[in-house]
Amino acid sequence: MTDLLIESSQLEELLRQALPTDVDYASARLVDERSEHLSVRQNKLEPIFNDFDTGVMISIWDGGGLGYAATADLSASGLAAAVAQARHWASVTAGAMVTTAPPSEHAVGTYASPVEVDWDTLPLTDRLELLQQQSRLLGIDERIVDWRASLVRREVDQLLVTSGGARIEQRFRFVYPSLRATANEGANTQIRTFGGHAFCGQGGAEVLGRYGFGDAASQIAEQALELLTAPNCPTETMDLLLAPDQMVLQIHESIGHPLELDRILGDERNYAGTSFVTPEMFGSFQYGSELLNVTFDPTVPGQLASYGFDDDGTPAVRQHLIDNGILVRGLGGDVSQARSGLPGVANSRASGWNRPPIDRMANLNVEPGESTVEELIGSIEDGVYLHTNNSWSIDDSRNKFQFSCEFGQRIENGEITGTVRNPSYRGISRTFWRNLKGVADANSFTVMGTPNCGKGELNQMVGTGHASPACLFGDVEVFGGEE
């Protein structure tokens, strides 16, 4: 099961031969995925799981229609059947389409995740022992009632060829480490995690060191215990300092999704929702304070959603979406840009071989400012410093949100004065970012990602990258849990 299909010239030739030449546009997108899932729970190894997922999506635009067909049968006859199916759909949908313009790019190029330390230099026995070590560091107290250390390694090879001559080969290597400690006393349970929604990326075994995987277990176990006796987060309007691993969620939900052009165009209204952002806002809308600079940057080495080309074959480059607080560009690929007439980015992405590309976030980053974290804390008279998301909810236009975190620290008169449990805050995207009053510098800037962003009909789950320093917001409605 280890031969790399992407290196098979015979398969590439089959794909090319399968594509019809008498249509407006045809593409074949091969996706070959391999992953290894390791987990140790309460110092016991859970069953190792090895996953292989390979298939091709054929897309055909012709005569004003579009059809796709996804198959795992990579034989000449299997591909021919998929082409016939896609052709049929194109004929059925001709004259009934939202848009008739296929992707315009036919680029040639390659991309490969930067790998410093090949994953396979860390033998399976070493990987399992590493997890056992972390597990033992988590289960340090009888009040820790459940704990787990996990590693997922995932490799994805993609080859896109089109009737217009495109050939794009991309090889992605991902690592997803995670830790979890659950502490309990009576009706009070507190969960502290590492990884999950933030600390994952592209690369090899060096990803573990990049995020301090080997050093995190003791801290999260101790913090889970600390939360058991911490007071409830106070309920009041105050300053809110968000650590980078909560900024991931804040960026994702209240900047990323609202700027997706397919939401603005209405494609998602039956499921993921629409957007409070409307087309006329681009170029003038004050999205945030002047401190807010947001980039779409698929070029950050090792970030989760870095790539050379999107799944329609558009070359990916860094673009400013929000420039000194002003909204300048949306998150929409080639097709959405043509439909909307709005500026976009190369972000047409699919979750796998069996799903068609749609507008997705990739790496969406808040650029660093000039303050140190210590300066930001020192500027706060009355506030909280929140770390690690554990709950998120936002309305269908991505406006009214409420987010919760695992771990909170009270800040009074410029100093951290204690830990608080069950911290939450709520706000409205349209105005929340205008209260951004401090952005930490490059020392706080952390490159992260989240592996599970759900969207689309049919549903798709993809990874998105987010990098950010700690950020300070004023006048936020903060509150705690149930007494």
């Binding site: 896609a86 009934a96 039956n270 309305d395 269908d396 709520r426």
Partner: protein, 445 residues
């Protein structure tokens, strides 16, 4: 094609069994589908196509040691035989490196079953024509998914289980403007033009009600009716976070922790079951255990049983009841009450009629305190009559209020709700729920 897949799976595993070594045991699960998808926006097609996939997952066991893996079947027997052989070789190599698994448990008493639900689904061309005709002049947005889905289990001990169905699912909205839309679902085994017409008629009538000027309500507590779809969103969150799962229960992570640690209760009106007999999910699970027809989870507001996976059964020393590893209901039912469904607006009298909730999550998980939004058709009702649609509101309240102290009644009819999820593959989850009349529900934004 599903019958062919059934035979193919059977023969593939039978052949693989002959290649096992020593005392090895092989567990195999296949899930597959051939689904036509049509995505629509403004009554036009955004994307349309067909997905064919068959995923085989295997667990290779020797004694108490085992390793698992999965891959996509191509449908070409020689290729799939070779891939399965290669995968089993890899698992065998890895198995040498792992210790005994103390929680390994699989069914060793072969019980073979077969359930096939045939359907009558129109050709995709015809379905698209029907849908666009019904949406003519409307801003119709949504997804149509139709075709065969199946799940199979086989092991080297001779057990064979098969579940397949041919279903369609049209999940759509008629949009009026901004966030005002009539949401509806037409799903089943047999496409019936009259039934579809009735669904369209319902949507048209609800759209008319939405044309009134919306009102903005201030945060506060309101008397509320939660329609079955809204109830589904609320209880689904609890379910997937382990409210009814043995592992979450034993490790004090269940959202209903206060029911076991503080003697909290839900309303005596609440009875919740896992009702496999009336659902559309397979009646077997991945280790080969057969699910009972029903498992009572909450009875008259009190915890009854948990869903116990085979691993939890070993870990906690109790029998499994055929739950999947996630230990969440796949065919949940909440027993109906006595509020007349046909006159529920009159029972509400004055308050909020909430058709759908959206994006629920916990604001304090261990207190089962949940937040979320109203979505689509939410109306302000006075004296039993709809006055106006209501702009979206955020709620933040506990299950102990909404399904406890503040629960005044449940409707006397339940609605069968098929899960429309298509992450990775089409879901076979469903629920059967009543609506709930709540004395006071807390809205915060």
């Amino acid at each position: 094609m599903s019958e062919a897949d059934h035979t193919y799976f059977d023969e593939l595993i039978t052949a693989a069994t002959t290649r096992l070594v020593g005392d090895e045991v092989l567990l195999a699960n296949v899930t597959g589908e051939r689904t036509d998808f049509i995505r629509l926006n403004n009554n036009d097609v955004r994307q349309a196509g067909t997905v064919v996939q068959r995923r085989l997952a295997v667990d290779l066991i020797e004694g108490q040691r085992h390793v698992a893996g999965a891959f996509q079947l191509t449908g070409e027997r020689s290729i799939d035989d070779a891939r399965l052989t290669a995968l089993l070789g890899q698992l065998r190599e890895q198995r040498r490196l792992v210790a005994d698994d103390p929680y390994l448990l699989f069914n060793t008493s072969p019980t073979s079953t077969e359930r096939i639900e045939a359907g009558s689904i129109p050709e995709p061309d015809a379905a698209l024509a029907d849908i666009r005709a019904a949406g003519k002049g409307r801003d119709l947005v949504g997804i149509y998914a139709a075709g065969d889905t199946y799940s199979g289990f086989a092991n080297s001990l001779g057990q064979r289980n098969w579940f397949q169905s041919a279903t369609f699912n049209l999940d759509w909205c008629f949009y009026l403007q901004a966030d005002k839309a009539a949401k509806n679902l037409y799903a089943g085994f047999n496409w019936d033009e009259d039934a579809f017409a009735r669904k369209i008629d319902w949507s048209n009538r609800q759209l008319a009600a939405l044309e009134r000027d919306p009102i903005n309500l201030l945060p506060g507590e309101y008397r509320t009716y939660l329609a079955p779809r809204a109830m589904e969103e609320f209880v689904h969150l609890m379910s997937v976070y382990g409210a009814f799962g043995q592992r979450a229960h034993a490790t004090r992570q269940t959202p209903l922790l206060r029911m076991i640690a503080d003697d909290a209760t839900l309303s005596p009106l609440i009875t919740i079951s896992e009702n496999t007999a009336e659902g559309i999910a397979p009646n077997f699970q991945s280790a080969g255990f057969i699910r009972p027809a029903t498992v009572p989870l909450v009875v008259d507001g009190q915890y009854a049983q948990t869903l116990v996976s085979p691993r939890s059964a070993q870990e906690y020393g109790i029998p499994t009841n055929g739950a999947s590893n996630g230990e969440y209901p796949e065919s949940m039912t909440i027993a109906p009450g006595t509020v007349a469904t046909s006159t529920v607006s009159e029972a509400l009298d004055t308050g909020l009629f909430v058709g759908n909730l959206w994006y629920t999550n916990f604001s304090d998980r261990m207190a089962c305190r949940t937040t979320g939004m109203t979505r689509f058709a939410t109306f302000w009702v006075e004296d039993g009559e709809i006055v106006a649609p209501v702009s979206v509101l955020r709620f933040d309240d506990t299950a102990y209020n909404l399904l406890g102290d503040q629960l005044e009644g449940l409707t006397d009819e339940t609605e069968v709700l098929l899960d429309t999820s298509t992450y990775i593959e089409r879901s076979t989850m469903s629920s059967q729920l009543p609506g709930a009349l709540v004395g006071a529900m807390r809205f915060v934004l």
